[in-house]
């Protein structure tokens, strides 16, 4: 009996120490606040006429899709001990390419597919440039992707001639606004892509190799991990995912706004990754955690609007939620709350590592 109790306690401890757990708690808390404000918040309606589910939860899922894309890309990059600051700018490039191409075409589905392929190809290429600078040239990831972050928005401005470009194509808009069996296409696509990435890295040794590079690049090389090609791949994938995010963001309004599309979203992506329990020091990652982080950011954005928090107080509100969450995630702060237990060496070590 005591054995079982001990195991249960250990299990509970593991859950509480899992940082993504606190992300889930935060999402639940935000949803609870919304329910207090309006008891019907969680209700999901079904419109028989259009065959669509509708409700606040569905809106959150839709808003989360672009963030999930860049968060998963960021997660892989961070695992190798790098960082990708250019995701927001690659988003706007993909959006600018799509809108500029679609503007000159008729609205057929074939053109939409062609545009999608070109936009994602360019996004992947920009990611590959990041990867090249990091892996072959050996620049710091922070610097190489910072360069791309500045250059990307410039490229987008050149592509559209500095204007916000609008286009019409129903198939392209369907990617962001359409529904399949009542569920938004954009969320289904996002989840499918996340699942694919998860299978690739966690059902093969790929994930372990990425973590090995993040832990100790030299040791991983001695162990036979091909650092260069893996880094090149990881940054390209991050670029590709950012391109998909850019397509989602621009397709929802069929407009690219060169100074606002994807602006500062790299920070959201980093935040999502950190909330999900991936250390920025590299060497470990959790895609599930990044997904929870992305959902939390979308929930937070929607909550601010739903509660009608004044525009000027919005950044402060968001900051408070994030700070509280980070404090709860910190082992050291939690043990301070537990007055009775002394600070054990074990937990101290973990707090430092986190």
């Amino acid at each position: 009996m005591s054995d079982l109790a001990a195991r249960l306690a250990a299990g509970r401890g593991a859950i509480v120490r899992n940082q993504a757990f606190w992300g889930v708690i935060a999402i639940a808390a935000l949803l609870a606040i919304n329910v207090v404000a309006d008891p019907g918040y969680l209700s999901v309606g079904y419109n028989g006429e259009t065959g669509r589910l509708s409700g606040n939860l569905i809106d959150i899922l839709r808003a989360a899709a672009p963030i999930l894309m860049i968060a998963v890309g960021m997660c892989l990059v961070v695992a190798t001990g790098g960082i990708d600051l250019s995701v927001g700018s690659i988003m706007v490039v993909a959006g600018a390419v799509s809108m500029e191409l679609l503007r000159g075409m008729d609205g057929s589905a074939g053109n939409a597919a062609l545009t999608l392929a070109i936009a994602l190809g360019i996004a992947t290429a920009l990611g590959a440039v990041n990867g090249f600078l990091v892996s072959v040239v050996g620049l710091q990831p922070f610097i190489s992707t910072l360069v791309m972050m500045l250059a990307g928005r410039g490229i987008a401005k050149v592509i559209t001639g500095g204007q916000n470009t609008t286009a019409d194509n129903d198939s392209f808009a369907w990617l962001a606004n359409g529904y399949v069996v009542g569920v938004p296409v954009v969320f289904l696509l996002a989840i499918a892509i996340v699942a694919l990435v998860w299978l690739l890295v966690r059902r093969s040794a790929l994930g372990l190799m990425l973590e090995a590079i993040g832990m100790d690049s030299r040791a991983s090389r001695l162990a036979g991990v091909k650092r260069r090609s893996l880094q090149l791949t990881v940054y390209s994938v991050s670029g590709l995912l950012a391109g998909i995010a850019g397509v989602f963001a621009t397709a929802s309004v069929m407009t690219v706004d060169v100074s606002r599309t994807g602006y500062q979203l790299e920070l959201d992506a980093i935040l999502a990754v950190v909330i999900g329990g991936t250390s920025l020091a590299g060497g470990k990652f959790s895609i599930g955690g990044a997904v929870i982080g992305g959902l939390l950011i979308a929930t937070l954005d929607k909550t601010v609007v739903f509660l009608g928090i004044p525009a000027s107080a919005t950044p402060a509100f968001k900051a408070i939620v994030i700070v509280v969450l980070c404090l709860l995630q910190s082992e050291r702060v939690r043990s301070l709350f537990r007055h009775r237990r002394a600070l054990r060496a074990q937990s101290q070590k973990e707090a430092v590592a986190a």
Binding site: G162, N164, T255, S259, G308, A311, S312, T314
Partner: protein, 334 residues
């Protein structure tokens, strides 16, 4: 060894970059001296601290200024758009114009506050500063020569008057604002509030920023509609882009813009007038961007040492029906 080689390579790259930058700086200096020399008689150098890509309105305005101050007209225009609407980059551009000694500076500030020091430096260098469109806060008229702009207060008052007359039986309204703290936003809010505030049957549901962006406005307004069970009749969008985003959100909620929710916007760009002619928007107040000619006259006067008014208002129109929009569309320049 490997790491030293890497450091050496890094230095080489950094060195190349620095050289490149120095070369750019050198180029600027050359043109400025030649421009400064000729400033007195033929070529007038004009430094334009601009906002850069922000939306259709800004595009039209800045293109109009660039088309006015041409070489043929005897000007050398130095166009310096902000980097991602960042005030820091504007202050840097402003300072370098002062250091170069241009003849006159045109300033469209992305943010109203924090310009005192820069403007004083220009004053010490005896370079006249003309504010284009955006004002500064606090509005100290000693620091600049004049401000030329359509009047935000007047324009948003015209939107508010439309709302009051279109909804005599009362309605709920929501405001989609630009970024908090920008002077345009404050002025447009004030014009609207002063008029709508006196109409007790117009109820404010809330206000939220959508950062001038269509995408954000759509996301914000879909949630606002849910939070209020679609019980909103008027949207006051402080620019066209946000109004168009709100229209998409209204359509996706299964309502009809123009019928269930009436959307009023400010700016009067082509896409907005097209939407008005289709009935998706209900009221568009123009905020006239094409005042390059007026600006040119004022610059000439200032350089000749004549007195000018501290605030010159550019007249603007309003469009309140699909017919008015259809009539205006063919001649629309932006």
């Amino acid at each position: 060894m490997r790491s030293t080689a890497r450091v050496a390579r890094a230095f080489a790259v950094a060195g190349a970059l620095t050289l490149g930058l120095a070369a750019c700086g050198g180029g600027d200096d050359d043109t400025s001296t030649s421009g400064g020399d000729g400033g007195g008689d033929d070529v007038v150098t004009v430094g334009f601290v601009a906002v850069g890509p922000e939306g259709g309105w800004r595009q039209a305005n800045e293109a109009n200024v660039q088309d006015t101050f041409t070489e043929e007209a005897g000007f050398e225009l130095k166009y310096a758009p902000a980097t991602n609407l960042d005030q820091r980059s504007q202050i840097d551009a402003f300072t370098s114009f002062v250091d170069e000694g241009v003849d006159v500076i045109l300033l469209s500030a992305t943010e109203g506050a924090g310009w005192e020091d820069s403007l004083r430096r220009a004053q010490e260098a005896e370079i006249p500063v003309i504010l284009v469109d955006r004002g500064i806060e606090p509005d100290d008229t000693d620091l600049y020569v004049t401000r030329i702009a359509p009047d935000n207060y007047e324009v948003s008052t015209s939107v508010a008057e439309w709302a009051v007359s279109a909804f005599p039986d009362g309605a709920n309204y929501f405001v989609l604002e630009g970024p908090a703290g920008v002077s345009v936003v404050n002025e447009r809010n004030k014009g609207w509030d002063d008029t709508v505030g006196s109409a007790a049957n117009l109820v404010k549901i809330g206000a939220q920023t959508a950062n001038w962006s269509t995408e954000e406005a759509k996301s914000v307004f879909e949630t606002v509609l849910r939070a209020n069970n679609n019980d909103i009749q008027i949207v006051f969008a402080q620019n066209d882009e946000m109004g168009l985003g709100a229209a998409i959100a209204v359509e996706e909620a299964g309502l009809t813009p123009g019928v269930d929710v009436q959307i009023a916007t400010i700016d009067g760009t082509k896409p907005a007038l097209e939407a008005l002619s289709e009935g998706r928007l209900s009221f568009v107040a123009e905020y006239n961007p094409l005042f390059g000619e007026t600006l040119l006259e004022v610059v000439d006067k200032v350089l000749n040492g004549e007195e000018v008014e501290p605030y010159i208002i550019v007249p603007s129109e309003t469009f309140d029906s699909p017919e008015a929009a259809t009539a205006a569309l063919p001649s629309r320049k932006y």
